[in-house]
């Protein structure tokens, strides 16, 4: 199994979570499977793409106030405050397969919330290919640094033993058509797993 490692850079980005109180949209502090995979699938128009990532650093957290307009009535709704990561740098790991093998070394895509307002322009630069030769050495016991649906853990060689490891559960959106989707049970950052070191933020034992 191999992975393509990309550096992701963006001047302003929000890995938007659900809007709270109708007025506040926080950003996730990692790059969830659902967001990066969705963005890559939309960009390349291919389906067999699986990716996840994490944030390495960012200069500061900013807040953008934006009042969505109701196109039917022409009136503005209550303004939504969006958390924005300024000058963010992250890492994206793409599972290498027939649909991803020819990914370019450099490309730009739009990812995250408020893309129509100029957020989420991201430059991806290929850093290296990671090949898993010895599974025993490749996989480490540690704390997950991203969000991956349970059903896709195997694609990243992430092993989660429900009886021995402590999870942090949550749900990620899984589109079922262009306008519908479901939320699927996922492991969130902070979960104890056995997996590739690059997906872990902290090693245990």
């Amino acid at each position: 199994m191999s992975f393509l490692e990309y550096q992701l850079k963006s001047e302003a980005i929000c890995f938007g979570e659900r809007i709270k109180k109708g007025t506040y949209r926080p950003t996730a502090m990692t790059i969830p499977y659902s967001q990066i995979t969705g963005a890559l699938r939309a960009f390349f128009g291919r389906q067999n793409i699986h990716a996840a990532g994490c944030i390495v650093n960012y200069a500061q957290k900013g807040y953008l106030n934006f009042s969505p307009k109701d196109n039917v009535t022409g009136t503005s709704k209550l303004p939504v405050t969006t958390e924005v990561l300024i000058n963010m740098e992250g890492k994206v790991f793409v599972v290498k397969n027939e649909d991803t093998v020819d990914f370019p070394n450099n490309f730009s895509l739009m990812i995250g919330a408020l893309r129509t307002r100029g957020l989420g322009v991201a430059q991806l630069k290929k850093i290296r290919e990671i090949e898993m030769i010895d599974k025993g050495q490749f996989l480490k016991h540690g704390i997950l640094n991203t969000r991956i649906p349970l059903e896709h853990l195997d694609k990243f060689e992430v092993i989660f033993d429900e009886k021995r490891m402590t999870p942090v559960y949550g749900y990620l959106f899984k589109p079922t058509s262009i306008s519908t989707g479901d939320y699927v049970l996922s492991l969130f950052e902070g979960s104890e797993v056995r997996g590739p070191e690059f997906l872990l933020k902290e090693l245990l034992s």
């Binding site: 007025t23 506040y24 926080p26 949550g170 939320y183 049970l185 104890e192």
Partner: protein, 593 residues
């Protein structure tokens, strides 16, 4: 029925002065009550003639052993020991986190008159509650063991814990089976052997349980989640009064005969409230129980969640994001905002205003600033700090230091009482210094204060530092397990972000002011930090305004010899050398407000 808490009442009597042993076996008058029997038979050692002769006193003997703060025979005098004269018994408690200089050379009762009073009290067959009311002061002052190096817990804690262990051992006769025939005809030494045998055979489980919530409180009413978390802890404490040995506002350590039974109970509660629990548990022999769970072989870590479906079709709850939201949205009366939330989060919101002052503050026209003050206690760091401090104390007493110093349950339980007193004292001190209308207690370790000026943070830091020094001065010498987080934000600022910053405990004292910066300090530096000789408010304001453009420009200004205020910035430059630029700049911004 034996009142196990009273088993060491004889320790109030000074043996040297009266010749009466603490198990009262050689007192001329004897009673026939069960409690008296417990007192005289609670030891099996060559130092005493009487020893356990029935299952209850046998279990009391083991409970007494488990509730002692050290492995009874592990602390020995080393080479170059002090003589008995130089190294007297000290009947007062040496709290390793807050040692006192006072030495108590005798126990409280030195005459037969006093013993008679104890005898009369016991003749009334008192309950444990009556005992604690009557002798509260003595129990808290007298060390469980008077030998220096071992006098680290109070008789109060020891008596309480003996009661808890005794009831655990007697409540489950299948796990801790002992028939009277097993003790029949045994001599003192043989009972002692049986005690050791049972301690290696009988098992107990230690369960450490950390309560977390998935909700992101957004409205004042969502903050009810803290109160519900607190009531969950209280509920567990009430249901299992003998099993809780340590507790904070979000953590419990329990000792139980069967971990699975407790986990089932907890799972049910979690399902009702929507919290999730991080649990570590381990089963071990009585002889090996200790608070350091990770050192017990076969320890397990699990997480208890409410039932989670594999898929949820929209809408998902906007607050916890772990359940399907109700089809009917929650509609805010004022703004008309619709929120899709689940049944459990709805209940939390509908529980009324458990924290009423937030609702008032939110309604105020000028949205006020709120200072969120949270104290954190790290259980693992606590064990490691106590171990270091205990070792230091043993070195001081020239005791032979065992290779693996064990911190046992009585010490953390003793600490737990001081920690709770500290929190209560801290809140009292805050209440004394701020208007009561401006204070909202959320949890014993979490309070919100409506402030008029950022400079009031200085007062809060000062209150914390004074209270901390009163209770835990020795923690300045180790990595302190106690951390303080302060976040100042506007009342309208999203609480989720406040909570994230409060949870950021990179240093022992952490202050975040939204839009102004952060301060991270070691606890021992707080006093000196607060004594920084600040220049005038005008100068601080000037520096703040410059650093708004660029913090680097602010730094350049401070060191610019051509600046007309160069000399007046001198105290700040000295402070920067000691505490770092970011800390001092943030402090300057705070104090210029």
């Amino acid at each position: 029925m034996i009142e196990p808490e009273l088993h060491d009442i004889g320790k109030f009597i000074d043996y040297k002065a009266t010749g009466i042993k603490h198990n009262l076996e050689n007192y001329p008058l004897q009673l026939t009550t069960d409690t008296w029997k417990g007192i005289v038979e609670h030891h099996c050692s060559p130092n005493f003639d009487r020893y356990p002769a029935c299952p209850d006193t046998f279990k009391l003997c083991i409970a007494d052993d488990l509730a002692s703060s050290f492995s009874r025979y592990s602390v020995e005098r080393g080479e170059g020991s002090l003589t008995e004269e130089e190294d007297p018994y000290d009947f007062s408690i040496y709290k390793i986190w807050n040692p006192s200089n006072q030495i108590m050379k005798q126990s409280f009762i030195t005459s037969f008159e006093g013993i008679k009073e104890i005898y009369s009290f016991l003749a009334k067959n008192p309950t444990a509650e009556e005992f604690f009311v009557q002798y509260n002061d003595w129990l808290k002052k007298r060390a469980e063991d008077a030998k220096r190096g071992q006098n680290i817990t109070s008789l109060y804690t020891h008596s309480k814990l003996t009661g808890q262990f005794f009831r655990i051992l007697t409540s489950d006769n299948s796990s801790f089976s002992l028939i009277p025939e097993e003790l029949k005809g045994l001599a003192n030494k043989e009972v002692d052997n049986l005690r050791k045998q049972k301690k290696n055979k009988w098992k107990l489980s230690i369960v450490q349980c950390q309560i977390n919530f998935a909700q992101t409180p957004m409205r004042a009413r969502d903050m009810n989640v803290f109160k519900i978390q607190e009531s969950l802890i209280e509920c567990i404490r009430k249901e299992l009064p003998d099993n809780v040995f340590f507790s904070t506002s979000n953590e419990l350590v329990l000792i139980v005969p069967d971990a699975q039974e407790v986990l089932t109970k907890l799972r049910k509660k979690v399902g009702e409230l929507g919290f999730w629990l991080k649990i570590t548990y381990a089963e071990t022999q009585l002889s090996a129980i200790k608070p350091q769970l990770e050192e017990i072989q076969g320890n397990k870590q699990i997480a208890l969640y409410p039932e989670l479906p594999k898929e949820i079709s929209p809408p998902i709850c906007e607050l916890c994001q772990l359940s399907k939201a109700k089809e009917q949205p929650w509609i805010d009366e004022e703004s008309g905002i619709r929120e899709f939330i689940c049944e459990r989060c709805w209940k939390i919101r509908e529980a009324g205003s458990l924290l009423p002052k937030f609702v008032d503050w939110e309604k105020m026209e000028q949205n006020p600033d709120v200072c969120w003050v949270k104290v954190w206690l790290d259980y693992r760091m606590l064990l490691s700090a106590l171990k270091k401090l205990y070792k230091e104390y043993l070195e001081k007493t020239k005791a032979k230091i065992p290779q693996d110093i064990d911190i046992k349950f009585p010490i953390i339980s003793e600490f737990n009482q001081d920690y709770k007193e500290f929190l209560s004292d801290l809140q009292d001190n805050i209440c004394r210094n701020f208007d009561l209308k401006s204070i909202q207690e959320i949890l014993p370790d979490f309070v919100a204060i409506k402030i008029n000026s950022l400079s009031e943070i200085r007062l809060i830091l000062s209150i914390y530092q004074e209270t901390f020094e009163k209770y835990f001065p020795k923690f300045y010498e180790v990595d302190s397990p106690l951390k303080l987080s302060i976040v100042v934000s506007n009342i309208k600022f999203p609480f989720s972000e406040v909570w994230r910053l409060l949870s950021d405990v990179t240093s022992e004292v952490n202050v975040h002011t939204i839009g102004k910066g952060a301060i991270h300090l070691k606890g021992k530096d707080v006093r000196a930090f607060l004594e920084i000789n600040l220049p005038s408010k005008t100068l601080l304001h000037k520096l703040t305004q410059i650093s708004k453009i660029s913090s680097k420009l602010g730094r350049i200004t401070l060191y610019d010899k051509r600046d007309r205020d160069f000399l007046r910035y001198e105290p700040l430059r000295r402070a920067i050398a000691q505490f770092g630029y970011k800390n001092v700049l943030t402090y300057a911004k705070i104090m210029s407000d």
